[in-house]
Point group: C2
Chain length 426, copies 2
């Protein structure tokens, strides 16, 4: 029995047979540094996937902040502490006017669970709209927005999942947001028909799980107008889109050209430390606090806040949003020639350090090829580059590396993609 088989058996026994692992041949990681991760046998992988290690694996400035504060004090927010105040002040300064207050929690799921209740409190309604190819988290309430599995008690009556934009298959989505606005209006009418008042619309501004389609500026505005007319709020899930990832803007909603009522933050916020948050207006926050008393023991503890602040330091000092813009653009340029060589690449697209390619069985019909995408991902893993796949049909290669990803790293990643295509593509 190999070491990997042994670990997988222990895992199945201790964590359940169906605990999820990446790759046909899973990777055992033991060390990370910058954009590199290392396995137990000294193997080295270029991490072109993980946005959790946002400013690079084990960034010394972040680790130092963590150790310093953990040695001084870690407690909850029922005592006064400057760390949470300094951080929330600094964080909200990156948002547009009005989004000036926050609740700190531990996971993006907790953040979205709160955001849904904020929208309920502010609107007085329960109805919520999301896309049919999204994922916003794992709590009971939030996982109602996922199409993956019907819950035991059945799908909640107040949820409407609308067809996602798909710029690759619907030319009109590359022009304007009318198709999506129509979907949203239909959902509002459908809730209305059942006497369910709208609370809001929740969206990743990049539509990351939907395959990050190429949408024109202002695409969501007509849909958002319909939501607001019906008394609903707009929640921007910035868990994947935020903290400079898209290069051109610090937040995904800024790039998409709208201001949400509520923004939720997660994964990259603490570079791996479990910290997340909900940013909103003081008025919405007050309404939420009146309607639902809320306290989170670990949320906003001094260690989490100091760590999250250190992540902002690094983003600024190393100008990582600028880096995401220039390297992301270079990566797309390096990847495009592959689309000329391989018919299975239907489209290359992305923005900043979030990019990838549609893998298709047929360029004319645009039929998705998720199995081929899976094979490419696995072949790249064998060749030392970690990526993933996503999208409505699970066929979109997903590159979402730590932010200090350089042009050289992008070259290695796209060259390796070329080699993998040479092996697995017809």
């Amino acid at each position: 029995m190999t070491r990997t088989q042994d670990l997988m058996r222990r895992r199945a026994r201790l964590l359940g047979e169906k605990s999820q692992l990446f790759y046909q041949e899973p990777v055992e990681l033991v060390r990370g540094e910058g954009v590199w991760v290392y396995d137990a046998e000294g193997g080295k992988f270029l991490d072109a996937y993980n946005n959790v290690a946002h400013v690079g694996h084990c960034h010394p400035h972040v680790v130092e902040a963590l150790c310093r504060q953990a040695a001084a004090l870690n407690t909850h927010t029922r005592y006064l502490h400057t760390a949470i105040l300094d951080y929330v002040e600094r964080l909200t300064a990156t948002f547009d006017d009005g989004l000036a207050s926050a609740i700190m929690v531990c996971t993006g799921s907790e953040a979205n669970d709160i955001a849904l209740r904020m929208a309920q409190a502010a609107s007085g309604g329960m109805g919520i709209i999301a896309t049919n190819a999204t994922y916003h988290g794992n709590t009971t309430a939030v996982s109602q927005l996922s199409t993956r599995m019907p819950p035991i008690g059945g799908h909640a009556a107040h949820v409407r999942l609308v067809n996602s934009p798909d710029s690759y298959r619907h030319a009109e989505d590359r022009v304007d947001g009318r198709r999506f606005a129509e979907e949203v209006r239909r959902a509002i009418a459908s809730l209305d028909a059942e006497g369910i008042r709208l609370s809001g619309l929740i969206l990743c501004p990049l539509l990351a799980n939907e395959g990050f389609p190429t949408l024109p500026p202002g695409y969501f505005n007509e849909a958002i107008e319909a939501v607001r007319e019906a008394g609903g709020l707009v929640i921007a899930d910035e868990v994947q889109a935020g903290f400079g990832r898209c290069g051109s803007h610090f937040w995904g909603h800024q790039r998409a050209g709208f201001t949400p009522d509520i923004a939720t933050l997660g994964k990259p916020m603490g570079n791996g430390h479990p910290v997340a948050g909900v940013v909103t207006t003081p008025k919405i926050l007050a309404t939420f606090r009146d309607a639902f008393r809320y306290f989170n023991t670990f949320g906003g503890n001094p260690v989490s806040c100091v760590v999250a602040s250190a992540v902002l330091d690094v983003l600024e000092e190393e100008q990582l949003a600028d880096n995401a813009r220039s390297v992301g653009a270079a990566a797309l340029e390096m990847m495009r020639p592959l689309a000329e060589r391989y018919d299975c690449i239907g489209e290359v697209r992305g923005f900043g350090l979030f990019f990838g390619a549609e893998i298709v069985a047929d360029r004319n019909t645009r039929e998705a090829a998720p199995d081929l995408a899976e094979a490419i991902v696995n072949e790249m893993r064998q060749r030392g580059v970690l990526i993933g796949k996503t999208g409505i049909y699970g066929n979109v290669l997903k590159f979402r590396p730590p932010m200090p990803f350089s042009v050289d790293h992008a070259r290695l990643a796209t060259e390796t993609l070329g080699q993998a295509l040479g092996v697995v593509a017809k």
Copy 2:
């Protein structure tokens, strides 16, 4: 404007007017060490309340483990890593046979949110029973178990909150669990009458929020039998009760004399680091994983697991469960004479390092005096000892210190209680 006022204003602006603080005069903490915490002006407080810093504030062994692993690798569980396997193996070894697998998450709320769905998956039902004075967490689903605030969408039809045991006011609760079993059977019948199948009963085995009544061994067994006969599962919420807190046993359910189907863990698990978990049988875990795909990005990351394991090291090396037993017993002995001096102390009770006193307006009627309890808590804070209050009527003084609490610390705490009573009690 004092520094405290300034911080409170910033806090109201950034975190909301109703963000909760302890004490009439809130404390700004800047440093913690063992059972001591320090404020910004050099003031020193005996921490007789916080179970998050379970093995003592900033325990060097735990901080060292945190720093070591954070500098090496922090990633998610879709890659193999030995830390989670070693920890879950070690953790489940402290449970009775059968409870041999786990899911790692970040907060007790996340743990209970999963536990409710595990019970749903294993039973096929939705109905859930809890006490009417409990608190199990802050997600949308879990906060349905709290009586504090009616949610916007109304109380869920599948929840039944039964009258809590109260050994101080109901003599029969000191004899056996018939009164509680009757409550639970009525709740099952009420769910049944509405066609709602039972999923389970969720309980803190110490009934910590209910005021930690003095119940005889086996108190819950008749109720549990009724739950199991109706096809339901038993969830032990060990967030307050676990990790040796009660002194006599490592887990609260072991002390109470029952084996749950699911145990949830939180606050003390990582000594402040956001880590929590759900322990159950491999069969229930498999059923849950089949019914609900679940993945938690931060849950079970190597840093969390190494930190949680370091907490177990300290509990063993410093024999802190034994300490909880002996110091807890000594503390009760020191506190009892106060009940002879002050009529407002209706009863002194507890187990291990979880103890306190019923504060009453009248010993004969046993009328609760929450305002007087509040005044005592505030007076003790002014005198440098941090405690809290809890219970069905919010009138029970709550001492729940870090586990390295010594007899000297207990003496200081009870002497300070005596002084506070001298000031505020009639």
